[in-house]
Amino acid sequence: MEKFDKLTGIAAPMPLVNIDTDMIIPKVFLKTIKREGLGVNLFDEMRYDRQGNEIEDFVLNKPAYRDAQIIVAGDNFGCGSSREHAPWALLDFGIRCVISTSFADIFYNNCFKNGILPIVLPQEDVDKLMDDAERGANAVVTVDLEAQEITGPDGGKVTFDIDPFRKHCLLNGLDDIGLTLEKSASIEAFEEKAAQARPWV
């Protein structure tokens, strides 16, 4: 997993609420057995017409946002299915950070497993960043994970909360499985105990 420490990039505004995982990556693209290559189909049904031509006013098709690395989104981003293809597609497109007032649980989790930083902020901060993002390529935003701070194009700063363990893993690009396997002894001890207490499992 790629580390996440500091990111400076263009933020794309997507004020729609309840952007679900079917919008992020429609299921026709779930039939892959790989993690890569999904970026071209990110937001596919909003981004292309039936003939595969780009829809001009979709935000990521506008010249200013084609290289966006951050999305500022409406409430409850990533609701719907558990498909990790959603963060894979975001990542493959180049999005490393999503900012919203709230995220769906599974999506939120999945982001961290893929080096994407989801940031939860109060409505007024999201509104402010949404305004900044509306200004397009002139509006470069910096996200500093170590300092837990977002700097807007005018130099205004917003701080955010994040779980310390998740922060640590993102900063260092750590793989969960390796970390957990270091605790094999605890897992085995638990299994022995459980086999006695609940042998039918």
């Binding site: 729609l16 079917d22 919008m23 299915s81 498909r83 769906a104 499985i177 638990f190 039918w200 499992v201």
Partner: protein, 468 residues
Amino acid sequence: MSPKTLYDKIWDAHLAHEAEDGTCLLYIDRHLVHEVTSPQAFEGLRMAGRKVHAPDKTIAVPDHNVPTTEGRDDPSQMTEDSRIQVAALDKNAKDFGVHYYPVSDVRQGIVHIVGPEQGWTLPGMTVVCGDSHTATHGAFGALAHGIGTSEVEHVLATQTLIQKKSKNMKVEITGKLAPGVTAKDITLAVIGKTGTAGGTGHVIEYCGEAIQSLSMEGRMTVCNMAIEGGARAGLIAPDETTFEYVKGRPHAPKGAQWEAAMDWWKTLYTDEGAHFDKVVTIRGEDIAPVVTWGTSPEDVLPITEVVPDPSSFTGGKVEAAKRSIEYMGLTPGQKLSDIAIDTVFIGSCTNGRIEDLRAAAAIVKGKKIKEGMRAMVVPGSGLVRAQAEEEGLADIFKDAGFEWRLAGCSMCLAMNPDQLSEGERCASTSNRNFEGRQGYKGRTHLVSPGMAAAAAITGKLTDVREMM
């Protein structure tokens, strides 16, 4: 000891490790696997030279992609990429030695229907699957939730999941349901009230007389859609109905082990005075048969209502409602019962069980579907299908003009050939009405099985109570 909720009890019984910062390793009793979200996880194991930690607790079944038409073993019925995914699951199940129900096995079906049916899902367990509707298994008083593919790999490799504890939420449905009102209406009504983010960060325990009176099938329908309410999982305390259902299932405990299990299962309830962070109460009598009008499961109203005016909402929902209504091709103020339907889909892990088929058949019996209507019944598993055939339900559907299909997810998410075309309008017993969910630009109205059956007969959204 301070009083605990059911969730607290199951959590505590599965805590394998707790780090100082509160990050926990939760031990997983059952890991269900399907073809769409697992290939990258197995590939990850291979690349790291890892094994499946507990293959005997891992159960795999292809369901999302598989065709549901006769002769589906013929590979030409599948697209190349679907074939590759199913073949990858075949191979992974074999290579890693996990339990497997291939398409040719009569026990194959939707993973969330197969698990309970085979007795893999038992009270007090932790159950995960790379699929958000894993919440279904909460009906047994099992802590069950969906996970992403990285977590699938994590569970395969370690049989644990890195977790932080969720908050406790109680949803109580008091009293009795009116005739024609089902578990599906309960679960939609709850989402209508709390919104799709109302349960975020919480595990919901459903309780109250109306919940206790439900069969296991109904309870699974309720818990299935906990995720649509944003919750991590839904739970219902196990009781005699649960034990009765579980007993004698192929993988349920037997003899002395059954007794030991029962001793523990009977302790699985929320203690008097336990703390809930959030409580929602709905009177069972107040729930009507509902339908969705928009493209979010929270866009739900009684069938007797009209399509709402977007300006009646607040905040970001105004835009979202406008977009939904346009997408759905509706007009504010239009009566929901005037909406004409092209297609009816009865199936999915929400409503693809035997009781659902019985409820639909009771409405259909002796009638014909509306001319020009496309209607299909897709049983949730091969065993549900066999039972429905034995009970004569299949003939009722076929005589009425329904297609009688083989088991799978089918038009619930339209990854197989069963899809809506652009603008096609469907009354569906599934769980998601998102844009494009059932096919590009397809329009979905979520309903109960009885309501779906009624729509198939009349050709429009219909109050099932008028046909009972």
